[in-house]
Each structure stands twice: as C-alpha cells, then as structure tokens.
C-alpha cells in the first residue's frame, strides 16, 4: 500500500482532516497572493471563528442524533441571549454572575422546550425548533424595547475581545471547549450513546439505551452553547441588535457538515467543526479581501454547503448500498450441503 492509499484510508476515518487541509491551503494562498496577511490577521480570523465554533459544537450534538435533526432556533437564542445579557448585567462586573446564570437558564429553558416538542410530542426537529425560534423572536423584540443602553461589563468585554500575548482569549475558550467536546464524544459513555442513537435508533433502543434522554440532552447542549455564545458575542460587538444571530444559522450547519460530521447522524467531529469554522471565516475574509459584494459572499457560502453535501451524500449512498447487500444475504438461509429428508 503506498502513501496516498494509506492516507485516503486514514482520512476516511478522520474526516476533519479535509477542513484542516482547506484552512491550510487557503491560508497559504492568501499569504502568497496578498502581503497584508500576517499572523495577527490569523488571530483575527480565529477570534471570529471562535464564536462560530461554539454554536457549531452545539449544532453538532443535535445533528449527530440523526434523522435529519437540526436546531433552527440557535439564531434566535443567540440574539435573545445578547439582549438578556444587556438587561441583566447592565455593564457591571458585579452582575456578571447573574448574567451568566441567566444565559445558562435561557439555554436550558429553550433546550427543554425543544426537547419536549421533539421527543415528547414527536414533532419533527426542524419544525419544532422553527416554532421555538418564532416565540423567541418576540421575546427579543420585547427585550429590545426594555434595554436602556449598550453597556458591556468590562470583564466580559475582556473575555470576548481580549488577547493574551496575541492569542484571543475567546479562541482559547473555543479550543478548550472543542477539546472537552472531543473528549466527551470519544471517552465518555454519553458520547458512545449519542453515536449509537444517531446510527440506528431501533438498535439503540433494543440495546437498552434511553434514546429520549440522549436526544433531549443534545438539544439542551445546543441551546446552552448558543446562549453562552450570544452573551459573549454581545460583549464582542459591544451591545446587541436584532437579527445578530441570523448568520450563525446556516454557518453553524455548514461548519458541522464541512467538518466531517455526518448529516445523517451517528458520527461527530469536534475538531472538524473547529477547522471548518475557521475555513468558513477564511472564505468570507477572502471574499472581503477580493472585494466581492456581500451578496456574492452569501452565494459562495450557499454553494459550499450544497457542494459538500452532494459529495458527502455519495459516501453515505455507497455505505447504504453495502448495508443493503448484506441485508440480502441475511434474508436467506445458508447452504448446508444437501437436502436431508427425515424418515417418517
């Protein structure tokens, strides 16, 4: 087996590598083509990518539960959380604990509502989270009227925008989060149960896994992470505005899919989501450097998502064909080498 074949075999199991390669290539091209690119601009990209990573990780948990589950409420949660942070913290570090508590509480509440609708009432996840998003949109409008000013707690501001020896604190937070997630997925019982539920729900149930609990926790994780992200994002931009979470809806899904997490569920890659987030931000940055209008940036993002899905779809197809082939074999009894008719 030569090196290329060995790599392709390895890459099949480590799908995150593609997004990592993408980051590397695009980064090199940008560095060569433009002189403006430097390490400090990379840290800027890391900073933007960190916010996307946090939402993406949450989205990844939901996608991994399978059956086309997607959390469409993340955008509204981000926006609402940013407003709630303004309302609770009021620019005072002293109120920070309350603010973080409120953000977590908001995430828990939305996650619980989504779980109730999806798991308890059997409503398809897309519709359920869509409807939740509507309700949150109104809550956002109401809190928008209630806020008195855009003051951000200095401590939170430091967390969201500060750097330690050139490295954004936010990037450290995101990378630490990715590390924890990767550990949970790989080395804890929960990670294994999540993957099992996403691969084959019936088999999971018959293996005594409590599917409902696993699915519900994925939705709760997603909402809590989106909510915390909203808190930090608000601090980063120094306030909050309506629709501020909107770009994260498609981008979080794109980051998950690009990062090698299977859209059909069962297999997740936290590292892949991190690299894919960086890649997406790099693409947007590139387009800004090239001077493409904002509309063109949307178009490119949309095409990237569809293109990656169309490619990934084929892998799943061939795998499915393999399963079906094996299924045929199962439908029949084997050869036993002769017909034995028992005497009467």
């Amino acid at each position: 087996m030569n090196g290329a074949a060995a790599f392709s075999l390895w890459a099949q199991k480590n799908r995150w590598v593609w997004s990592a390669i993408g980051v590397l290539v695009l980064w090199l091209v940008l560095s060569v083509v433009t002189n403006r690119f430097s390490l400090s601009s990379l840290s800027g990209i890391m900073l933007s990518a960190s916010f996307l990573t946090v939402v993406g990780i949450g989205q990844m948990f939901v996608v991994t539960t399978g059956r086309g589950n997607i959390d469409l409420s993340v955008a509204s949660v981000i926006t609402l959380s940013a407003f709630v942070a303004l309302l609770t913290i009021k620019g005072q570090d002293a109120n920070l604990a309350i603010g973080v508590g409120a953000a977590i509480l908001l995430g828990l509440a939305v996650g619980a509502l989504n779980s109730l609708l999806v798991v308890g009432l059997n409503i398809p996840a897309i519709i359920a989270t869509l409807a939740t998003g509507y309700v949150l949109a109104t809550a956002t409008l109401l809190s928008n009227r209630a806020i008195s000013g855009f003051a951000v707690s200095p401590l939170l501001k430091t967390l969201a925008t500060g750097r330690v020896s050139g490295v954004p604190i936010m990037a450290v937070i995101a990378i630490a989060g990715v590390a924890v997630t990767a550990f949970v997925l790989r080395y804890t019982v929960f990670g294994q149960l999540l993957s099992a539920v996403g691969q084959n729900r019936t088999a999971a149930r018959l293996a005594a896994i409590r599917n409902n609990r696993v699915i519900a926790s994925a939705f709760i994780i997603s909402s809590v992470l989106a909510s915390l992200n909203g808190l930090l994002l608000g601090a980063y931009i120094g306030g909050a505005f309506l629709e501020m979470g909107q770009p994260y809806l498609l981008q979080s899904i794109a980051a998950v899919v690009l990062g090698g997490t299977l859209i059909f569920g069962g297999s997740a890659s936290a590292v892949g989501t991190l690299f894919a987030s960086i890649l997406l931000i790099l693409i947007v940055t590139t387009m800004q450097i090239v001077g493409l209008p904002p509309g063109a940036q949307d178009i490119v993002q949309g095409i990237v998502v569809i293109f990656v899905l169309a490619l990934a779809g084929r892998q799943v197809l061939s795998r499915r064909a393999a399963v079906n082939g094996a299924g045929d074999a199962d439908a029949v009894k084997p050869e036993t080498g002769g017909i034995a008719i028992r005497p009467e």
Binding site: I126, N200, L309, V332
Partner: protein, 823 residues
Amino acid sequence: MSHLAVADPEGAATMPAVRPDVVSLAKITKSFGPTLANAEIDLAVSSGDIIGLVGGNGAGKSTLMRILCGATSPTLGSISFAGQSVNFVDYDTAEAQRRGIRMVHQELSLCANLSVAENFFLETPGDAVNRPGWRALYRARARAALDAVFPANGIDVNAEVGHLSIAERQMVEIARAAATPGVKLIVLDEPTSSLDLDRSRQLRTFIRERARSGLAFIFISHKLQEIIDIATQVMVLRNGRAAWRGDAADTSIGRLVQLMGGDANSIHQHSAATQSSGETLVKLSGFLTAGLGHDIAIGRGEIIGLAGLEGSGQKELLHAIFEPDTARDAAVARSVDAGFIAGDRQKEGVFPLWSVLGNISIGSLARRPALGLVSERANRDTAADAAGRLRLDDKRFGSNILELSGGNQQKALVARALVADTPILLLDDPTRGVDIATKQDFYRLCNDIARGGRTLVWHTTEDAELLACDRVLVFSGGRIVKELSGEAITESAVVGASFAQQADAGVGSGHRASGVGLARRLVNAAPFIGLAAVLAVMISANPAVASIFGLDLLLMPALSLVLVTAAQMFIVGGSEIDLGVGAFAGLVSVLSATLLYDQPWLGALALAAAVAAYAGLGGLIQARKIPAIVVTLGASFIWMGLGYALQPTPGGASPEWLSAMFNWSLGFLPTSIILIAAVALVVFVIDRLPLGVVLRGFGNNPTAMIRSGWSPTRYALVRYLVAGLFAAAAGLSLTAINTASDINSGSSFTLLSVAAVVMGGCSLLGGVISPVGAIAGAVTLSLIGALLGTLNVSSDFNAATQGLVLIALLTLRSLTADRRSEQ
C-alpha cells in the same frame, strides 16, 4: 414501461394440447458471500400452470421470485421466455413487466393516500389523459377487476386505500395485478394472509378460472391446505434447493411439512436439569393467555420457545417483555432486567459506523451512568470474554461490523447481550440467515446460559430449534393458543397447533376509536375555524373591514403568502421541506423589478433560469439522497446573495403589465379573494390531474412507485418545478403589490408557509395536498398581524403568536394522530 394490450389472455385461450412455455429458469444459483440463497434451481412455468411454492423462512423462495421478477440477478443460471433465452444483464423489473410477469408483494405496494382507482392508474398510466373525468376509465377498470376476482366485495373504488382494511387492500392489490393487460404470469406472495375463508375461496376460484384460459400463477403460501387445494404442481424449497417438485395430487400437508422440515443436524436438547427455581421472572396473563385458561410464569434457567406462523404475535411478546406496559393490569410483567438480541441485524441490530468491538461494548455502556469514562482496554477484556464463549475471533474486533459475515455479525450481537449481563435474554429469531457452524455455537451457548441460571425467551421461525426449549408457547392471531413442554415438544405438535388455529385468526383490522376521530376532524377544521374567528373579531372591531375595499386592503398582502404556501405544499407533499422558498420569491421579485423592468427579454430569461435552477435543486436532492432542509437552507443564501448583488437596497419598479394583473376590479367581489380562490383552484386542478396523483404517490410510498416503474428523480424535478413556478408567481405578486422590490420581502414567508401547510392538514410525512385548508391557514396567519393591531396588541407579538399557533396545532395533531407510524 409499456402496457400494450397486444393479446387479451382470455382470447388466446384455446387450451392447446401442449401448453406453451411462459418462462423457465434453469440452474439458478445465487450466492451472497459464503452463503447460497439458491442452488441450481430449475423452474419452468407453462401457460395455465398453478405452481404452489412452499418452504420455510429463508428457504430461498423470495430470492427466487426476485430473480424471476428482475429485481435481482442470479450468480449463475439462465432465463428464457417461450424458448427464447434472455440475458440477465438486460433483465430488470421493467423488462419482466413487459414480458407479462406481475408480482403481488407480501408487504403491499399500494399508495395508501390514493384512491383505489388511482392505484390502478399507477400500474397502467398509458391510458390516462389530462382532462377532467380521466379517472372514469380507471374507476370502471378497478370496478370490473375487483368484481371479477372477488364478487360482491363492496369496495368503493373512490375510497382512499388507507381507509380500507388490510384484507381489502390485499384484494385491491391482487385485482390490480390480475387486470393488467398482457399479463402472462402472476406471482402471489402470501395472497391470503389476511383474507377470510370466503375471500380466499373466491380468489382460488378465480385463479382456477384464469388458469383454464391460459394465465399462469405461482402461489406462495404458508397455508398448506390452500396449496394442496389450488396448485396443480408444488415445489418445495429447502435451504436454497428444490427439495421436491411434483403434482399436487401426489402430496399431502403432512408430507409437505416433512419436506420443508427443520435442519437435519441435531440441536442440543436442553438438559432439563436446572428447572425453574420457583421464582417468577416474567408473568404472562390477560388476553394473551385467555385461550389457555391459565397464566404463564417463566422462571430462572428456563428456555422458552415462541412458535407459530410468522407474525402471529411472537415478536410483539418479545417487545412487550423488553418494554413492559406500566399499567397494573398489563398482560406482561417482568421483575428483572432483560436484554434483547435482534435477528433483523440491519434494521434492529448493528451500528453500521462502528467496529465489532464498539458494537459489542455498547451493551454494557447503555447500562452505565452517562458521564462514566469508557476504556478501550476494559471494553476489550469484557468483550473478549463474551466473544470467547461464542468462538468469535477477537482479532476481528477492529473490523467494521459490516465486513463480517451474517453469522459473525450475529455473534457480535449475542456478545453485546452477554456483556450487558441481564438475567433474561430475549432472542428474536437470531439464527436467521446464519451458517450452520454458528448455529451450533449458538445452541451450545444457549444451553450454557440457561444452565448458568439465566432465562431465555426465544422466538424462532425454525421449528426444529424449538426442540431445544423447555417449554414452547404456540401463537396464533396474537394470542398464545398452546403450551407445550418437555417430551410433548415435537415439530408436528408445533406445526399442528399453529395451523389448527388459523381459521380463528380472522381479519383483525379497521378498528378506530371514534373519539379520536372527532378530535382529528376538529383539528382538521382548525384553519377554517381560525380564519372565521379572526375575520369575525376584526369585523366586529371595525365594520369597515367587511367592505370590498377593506377586504382587499387586508387580503391582498396575503396573496403572496398564499402562493408561497402553494409552493411549499408540493414540497411537503414529497415529505420534504423547503427552507429557501421565501428567499426564492424575494429573488424573483428583485429580478422582476429590475431586469424584467429594464430589459424584458433578459429579465424573462433570468426568471426562467431561476426556476430551472430551483427545479434542478430538487433533482439534485433526490439523485444524491441529501437532506432537502440543509440543501434548501444553503440555496436560500444563494437566492439572497443573488438578490443583494442585483439590488443592494430596496427599489426598482413594477412593470406596468404586471401591476395591471393584480390591479383590476370586478366591483362586486374583492380582487384579492378572486385571486386567492384562483390559486386554490390551480393547485386543486394540478393535484387532481394524473401528474398530481403521481406526485402524491411518491410522497406516500416511493418504493411502490418505483416498483410500478416510475422514475423518482424525474418526478423530484417535476415537483420542484411546480413549486418553483408557484414561488415565482409569489415573487411577481410581491413586486406588483409593493410596486417595488426588496430581497428580504419574501424571507418571512418560508416559515409561515410551513406553518400554513401544517395548519391546512398536510402531513409532514408527505403525500397529502389540501389546497383549501392550507390556503385558509395562510390567510389566517397573514391576518394575525392585523388582528393583533385591531386588539391593540403590539406587533412584537406577531411572531410569537404565529409560533405558538404552529406549536399548538402540531401538538394537537401529535396527540390525535394514529400511533401506527411510530418507530
């Protein structure tokens, strides 16, 4: 697929002395990896033959029939029609149908959401025309076909198949196959499994009649007395080989049972040393044991076999023991933990992405706390112990589970149950499709496990395996009809008990709770009630609303949402959701207010290209089997991006002719109401045409559609084309109504359209188009803003109201829905 009625089989029936050969299979061998499903089977069918095909589960019947019908190619062997040989490379289902072979599948292939007549259309679409009344032909055909096979059947050919009982569906399916023009051979797979005695007799009479006029039949059934009664010849398959073929007159039920019999290889008899220690682990009572007259207690160390004809309630009992009903008077009660070993490995057993080790260790992980740590080494040690008992080589732990043979996959599943270490093990036909060596390992293990004090409840379709059990419960019609133990367990006793009770097992279907039915009707009427209520409130608050001008002012903005809803409805009808449809309408609006206004030709071209791109997306989704939600969400960014690029800020102007289309008045009726009604009418007409029927068919049962020869990709394209046209119309209406365009103007419609479609009664599972309900829903939703204004509620609550309406409706639907589709 052509349906040329070249030769009416009835007319050609002059019964020549030598009956012409219809089709013959020679030396058919089919292997799946190491296992042989069919081995050198010869099967010649002459016109007028009625061949009874019998054999145990997995004897190779279905593989042979799949080869005959072109669904599978054999490894070796040949097929010829009337002496003319055909290469298997060119032989597929469409070719088989062209040559007059039709199969009635056991799992019925009708579209439940279509009427009986429409299902007849799907099979012979060639005669349909695009004009009102096209169904009349198929109605007449269905009527005639049903009456020919089942006189006095009383089936309404206009009734939705989903509303028919299982028996009636089976009758429709049989009649449909029999009525196909040009048919020469009909394969009936368990055709009488849910027919009562009279219908079954009618079917047999019909078969005899048609056989006399030259039609050939292959009749597969477990009901051996029917085979003896109807067949002219009988073929017995066993372990993939033809065990016997001869005249039906030369055989008997007893002889057939014996020919089909279990494996000759002896099965370890369970040494009845460790008998139940008195402690009851599982208790069966209530309706389950009503026929026995006493409850059944299952104790420690027992092996309990579940027998009976397939689908008589054995699986249900296993699942009930696994997840007992918590009600106090439940028929099944269990006192200790139970583990499950699935026999349907692909659907219920394996985790396809994982290695063998992962597939085994999940058994113990599932019972540990969620935040516990997983250690590969500990997993390996535990699994190695279980695998050793099963003779599963632990060198294979690293392989993907799908790379293993069926037998070794099954060993991994058994190992999964062993590491879970539960006092009760439930086995769901685990030796299905497993090689004999694995079976022997498995039987040995079962004895070990039972001797170790664990209880096995074992559902098997191989009667010989029951000899290994301490007790056997024989099922029929969902109940236990006989309990055998010890020496009384013999194959003939089991077969006797399962067949003896067959007559009692009538057609058990068609029970519907009327209370739930009423609730469902109320939910279905919700959009109309809602619309009426909203309008009533608004008119009472402001009587001017009721004027023509007032209604127009209120309803004209609803028109765009109505159009987007129509588009979404066709997508949802195909069990998908389009999250880009609103953005697409916005893009069309921008195109029409800019390009179309400035350069009409270029604009028209751009619009056509946009619609084509939209349709192409549908084709892509189907061809690559990728989730529509994500693709359309991605597409929404493309539509938005294009819109922004064309027109960064709102503006543009509406072409005059376009404005004129929406700006006329009849004086006595609000224009908006006429336009909305027109949209409903167009949707209704498309839905009623043959095209609409095909689209709905795909939404309900794509497998059946493909079996009838329809192309899924082509109709995905058509579906998205229709939706794209409606969405484009919505975009044009936006431009005309606003006399300018804004790329964001359509965005809010996406989610609203989904809500409206759901309100209107369309199932998100697909297959339902209800133009009036969905459009009433759309109008209601778009009025919510105005209603809140009338009630002096801030428009901030608009979105929340819409969201809550959606949640409330879905909750109601979920609570009143059939529980059939679950899991």
